[in-house]
Symmetry: C2
């Protein structure tokens, strides 16, 4: 179970078993059905999460009340509402399960304390943050240079798992197009 998290961490940094155990000891296991909120807009996000099983999306509501999906997470992804978490301010985003989920969570207070005793943990989170920057830059650039038909193709090619598991209207919101237009793209060839 927690083996899964260890494996993930080792992709980034070498932890001693003692360090790893101290870290994991602070994590709590949660199960949730689908369509349940992990965090709601306006709440303060006190945790970071590691998804063991299932599918989750982070979104906000625009002026017209449409859901705008900012990101998905699936197995072995780390997620949180970062700005809210760091500043301990009300979150712009909601986080919601799409499928039934199993995940681990760790409280900010615990994690901050661990940073002081486990230097490797600091490195681990630095490397994760850097990778998020890279992923976000890439997303921005892809959206900037591709028209929506190309985004659709790109997304389908590169993340086929999502395509199977995520309902169309959420994919549309992630691709920044309307469900109607996505539908017409799908059926245009």
């Amino acid at each position: 179970m927690k083996q899964q998290l260890k494996k993930y961490i080792h992709r980034y940094v070498d932890f001693s078993d003692a360090e790893l155990d101290a870290f994991i000891a602070k994590m709590e296991l949660i199960k949730l059905e689908k369509k349940k909120f992990i965090l709601e807009e306006g709440e303060i996000c006190h945790h970071q999460y590691f998804l063991l099983e299932g599918l989750v999306h982070t979104f906000y509501l625009d002026q017209d009340g449409n859901e705008r999906t900012s990101s998905f997470a699936l197995e072995n992804w780390w997620f949180t509402s970062l700005e809210s978490y760091i500043k301990q301010s009300p979150s712009f985003y909601s986080i919601q399960t799409i499928e039934p989920c199993v995940f681990l969570k760790i409280a900010k207070t615990d994690l901050d304390a661990l940073f002081d005793t486990i230097p490797n943990l600091e490195k681990f989170f630095r490397l994760m943050a850097q990778n998020m920057v890279i992923a976000l830059q890439r997303r921005t650039d892809i959206y900037q240079k591709m028209i929506s038909k190309e985004r659709y193709e790109y997304f389908r090619r590169n993340f086929p798992e999502f395509f199977q598991r995520v309902p169309q209207y959420l994919i549309a919101s992630y691709l920044e197009i309307t469900p109607e237009y996505l539908s017409s793209l799908r059926n245009s060839k």
Copy 2:
């Protein structure tokens, strides 16, 4: 001169003077005229940079050979071509001065070595990376929910310095619209 960097760092972390000096000792001061490349697409980025004076932009060329500005940096901003820097792979982006610039740079090899001896440095870069994530998320969401006229207003309101200093066609490329359309937005009221 290097006082400026110290001040910036202290916004994030408390360094001892010895730590700070060890860090700064590895940094090199560079001056460059306007329209000069700091990094060209295809090169491997070996440094991170801290801008003391001037204005810089990071961009790439799309299929049609248009410059697409991914980000600007001005005084007291940290910048690099992150993916290239981390993976030591050819950069997708070019980095170019817009105005005459003065900046500090530090080599990856030096910085990596310092991470092992100065734990605070690890924290500093973790916090900077997290802030970049927040800024990028915000940018993505703004672009997603605003039409270009709103983006233009938002940008003008929130970053008036840029507006004075950056040529129109670069602002257009950052706003993801054509210079022609930006011009019509400017003159439509």
